[in-house]
């Protein structure tokens, strides 16, 4: 076969340039650690890796939401533990006050004073605020103080009906937080569910206030004290539900962690470079480029004109 002198030279130069381009490409992959530098190298892997990254980011956001919810439920739990202790103390004192033996008007008055103190303490617990300054028992009206004591006019005639001293000013709605693709969890409880609602005259503060009044009048009743017991039952139920939610959050967190790890593994499989493979490739590309350069230099020196 006849060949021209100029073409093979150009051809060799082109093919060396090609090999150089491949070498550069492999080198760029090694330095970036990416299996594919552009989506065109593997369009479906590119689409998958975008969608994997997106799922990972979303799930990581859920993990942050879980941390926030956990922190808030933890705060609520501390407050409720304190509330339980306080109510238990009230029960003890209340039983003491109801029993006839050894009780004088004076000692009932002393118990009544302690009841007032403990009621104030309970109200301050019901108005607990979180780090953002939000009232944790106010539901969605989180910047409104849920319970405030309405001062009773000391000069009011005794015959007047007692004023509703405690009103719940919060919302009956509690916000939910997204913690998984299809899962939301409420990050607290509204005050009316924990302490009872004022509208029904059922709040624990009203019960305490009423019992205190009975103590002062020297005729405490078990019926009124029973209302305080009911309040403890409500608190215990809510307390248990917080535990349940914290457990659920822990499980969701573990599920999310698993999902993130699995997705990252899948992402790594399609998007991360196999270093050993790439370095082997780099070596072989380097060898073949060198071989091409050497043979080019040799062949180019050959010409019949040298012998003329």
């Amino acid at each position: 076969m006849r060949i021209s002198t100029a073409y093979p030279q150009q051809f060799n130069i082109n093919s060396m340039a090609n090999q150089q381009a491949q070498l550069t490409n492999t080198q760029a992959k090694i330095s970036s650690g990416q299996k594919y530098l552009t989506p065109s190298e593997n369009p479906s892997a590119a689409a998958y890796s975008l969608s994997f990254k997106e799922s990972i980011a979303l799930t990581e956001q859920y993990q942050e939401n879980i941390a926030a919810a956990n922190q808030r439920l933890g705060l609520e739990e501390t407050a409720l533990a304190n509330v339980s202790d306080t109510i238990q103390r009230l029960q003890e004192l209340g039983l003491q006050g109801v029993s006839d033996s050894g009780n004088s008007t004076i000692s009932r008055n002393a118990i009544a004073s302690e009841f007032d103190q403990l009621n104030d303490h309970l109200i301050s617990l019901a108005n607990t605020r979180n780090a953002n300054g939000e009232y944790i028992f106010a539901g969605n009206k989180s910047t409104t103080m849920p319970y405030s004591k309405i001062a009773v006019d000391p000069n009011a005639p005794a015959t007047d009906a007692p004023l509703p001293a405690f009103a719940y000013a919060g919302s009956s709605m509690q916000r939910a937080i997204q913690v998984g693709m299809f899962r939301t969890i409420t990050d607290g409880d509204v005050g009316s569910a924990v302490f009872g609602s004022t509208e029904e005259g059922e709040s624990v503060f009203d019960a305490i206030k009423n019992f205190t009044a009975e103590l002062r009048a020297d005729k405490p009743t078990l019926e009124t004290l029973k209302k305080i017991d009911d309040a403890l039952v409500r608190v215990t139920i809510v307390h248990a539900s917080i535990g349940a939610r914290q457990n659920a959050l822990d499980r969701q967190k573990a599920t999310n962690d698993d999902f993130i790890i699995n997705t990252k593994t899948a992402l790594s499989n399609i998007a991360d470079l196999d270093m050993a493979d790439a370095i082997t490739k780099l070596n072989s590309q380097q060898n073949s480029l060198q071989a091409a350069q050497q043979s080019f230099a040799k062949v180019q020196g050959m010409s019949l004109f040298k012998f003329l």
Partner: protein, 543 residues
């Protein structure tokens, strides 16, 4: 005609001198592009009849011809056209591919960060810092849409410049080829067998360069000139006459360029070459990419606004639109020559998931409208009353009827990414709540955050998936372009190699020829020397 030993030897001297000159010309042009190896063709001189015998009269140079093969040259041209096509398409597509896939320059990071910030507000709705982050991220998102869209516009400008460049080159090559036609015809038409080899080589290489930009067919004329055609026989060059191509704005669509030849649209008349590659890039990659990107922008903007305007902000007021599309939601372009008329179009929230990444053409004739979806050229059914109507997620209304036949281009998605803008700047204006006065209410923010994972858009795709479809589509186009480019390079190389082995110069061969002609030349010189000594001995005999 010289005769006798001396005369015959002289013809040999002249013939081999000419042969060596041709060889030396071949050697000199060993690296000249488009040069065809030349041969000196020798024939014997007519013999003379003398004393009952035919006596030979030496050799004559009949012609110097170039090694030319029509088939090989046609192959070079057609492979150059396919290569030019693949080259233009690949170079532009690769740029779009890089832009969209890069997490920094594409949309994925911006979409992700934006929804993260919405999640931040949903888990902490009273926090002003969280709200401020969301306001900033919304602005970043809309700005990123604008940036990506403007990068696509830059590619469009580049592509248009390349089309203009191709057309300028085509015009200049056709001028040169027509000029060469004239010269070749004048040298050839005098009859005779001599061919202007250099001019023919020049014309062939110009034809090959022309073919890089537009695919052509050629037809040789008896006078040596050639006619060049595009498409179904539109003559680009006919002898010394030529047609001029020009690039102009389309009359139906002011944002589109068309190729005219002698005033007629010939955009669809060629099927390969760089000009075709550029048009293909525009129609198959750039426009769909711009529309798909716009679909994501329109989807985010509209879906977000719908929910946001149902919520309550931190001041207790009803939420306002988070995003706007300026100057208008859906731009409608009137074609040149329309008889008035005013058409308006808006997004339809209820059927957002039917919106497609396509433009639409609304034609008005004889009192009725027809609507064509341009991505697949499908006629969309309009209700019997015509307008107003809601199709494919858009509302179309007639504000004023045209006075006569008119057409409008409706672009729901094409400009959405360019026009989207986040307009809320006050962090308190984010409507995270659904109940007035409940500042800690996050229910609307939760719903907004959930937009991220809902199949809001065409085909039940989420916003991010719709963007991924775009990345995958452009990626596959770029992949196909790479494959076809390397295939076309190989084919073109084969054609060039075929030509090189047929018409290229081989120095070893020329060296061997040189020896051959030198020997013959020396032999002829020897004959002259011998004839001189014969003459001398004759003179000596009579002295």
């Amino acid at each position: 005609m010289p005769s006798g030993i001396l005369g015959t030897a002289l013809t040999g001297l002249m013939a081999f001198q000419r042969s060596m000159q041709t060889t030396s010309n071949n050697v000199a042009n060993v690296n000249t592009d488009g040069y065809s190896r030349q041969d000196t063709n020798l024939t014997t001189n007519p013999s003379s009849y003398s004393a009952g015998n035919f006596v030979g009269n030496g050799v004559d140079v009949t012609s110097i011809t170039r090694n030319y093969d029509q088939f090989i040259n046609n192959n070079i041209r057609s492979s150059a056209s396919s290569l030019g096509d693949a080259n233009a398409f690949q170079a532009m597509t690769a740029q779009v591919d890089n832009l969209l896939a890069n997490p920094e320059s594409g949309m994925s990071n911006a979409i992700k960060s934006f929804f993260n910030s919405v999640n931040g507000v949903s888990s902490d709705p009273t926090s002003l810092p969280a709200r401020q982050v969301m306001v900033s991220e919304a602005k970043t998102l809309s700005t990123q849409f604008n940036i990506v869209s403007s990068r696509l516009d830059t590619f469009r400008a580049q592509n248009n410049a390349k089309m203009q460049d191709s057309i300028d080159k085509i015009n200049s090559f056709t001028q040169n080829i027509a000029d060469l036609n004239v010269k070749i015809a004048s040298l050839t038409s005098g009859g005779g067998t001599q061919s202007p080899n250099e001019l023919l080589d020049q014309r062939d290489s110009m034809l090959a360069q022309l073919a890089e930009h537009i695919d052509v067919a050629t037809l040789a004329r008896p006078d040596g000139s050639i006619d060049v055609f595009i498409g179904q026989g539109q003559a680009l060059i006919s002898g010394d006459a030529r047609s001029k191509l020009e690039l102009t704005n389309s009359t139906t669509d002011i944002m589109q360029k068309t190729v005219l030849m002698n005033g007629y649209d010939v955009s669809s008349q060629f099927s390969s070459g760089a000009l075709t590659g550029a048009i293909k890039f525009r129609d198959q990659v750039l426009d769909p990419a711009q529309q798909q990107l716009g679909l994501v922008a329109a989807g985010i903007g509209q879906a977000f606004n719908d929910l946001h305007t149902q919520g309550i902000d931190l001041n207790g007021a009803t939420g306002k639109a988070m995003f706007t599309f300026e100057p208008e939601q859906i731009p409608v372009f009137s074609s040149i020559g329309n008889a008035g008329g005013y058409i308006k179009a808006t997004f339809d929230s209820a059927t957002l998931n039917q919106m497609q990444a396509s433009d639409y053409r609304l034609d008005y004739a004889a009192g009725s409208y027809t609507l064509t979806r341009l991505s697949d050229n499908v006629k969309v059914m309009l209700p019997t009353g015509g307008l107003p109507t809601t199709v494919d997620g858009i509302n179309i209304t007639q504000v004023a009827p045209p006075a006569g036949t008119s057409s409008f281009i409706i672009r729901p998605t094409y400009l959405a990414a360019r026009n989207i803008n986040a307009v809320i700047t006050d962090p308190r204006a984010i409507a995270a709540a659904t109940t007035s006065g409940d500042v800690g209410d996050n229910s609307n923010a939760l719903a907004l955050a959930n937009l991220e994972s809902q199949g809001l858009l065409f085909g039940g795709n989420t916003l991010a998936q719709t963007y991924q479809v775009l990345v995958a589509k452009v990626g596959s186009s770029a992949n196909a372009a790479n494959v076809s480019l390397s295939a076309q390079k190989a084919l073109n190389n084969q054609a060039i190699e075929a030509r090189a082995s047929f018409a290229g110069v081989n120095l070893d061969e020329e060296a061997a020829n040189l020896i051959k002609f030198q020997n013959a030349y020396q032999a002829s010189s020897q004959v002259i020397a011998i004839s001189r000594s014969l003459f001398d001995s004759l003179l000596g005999a009579i002295r």
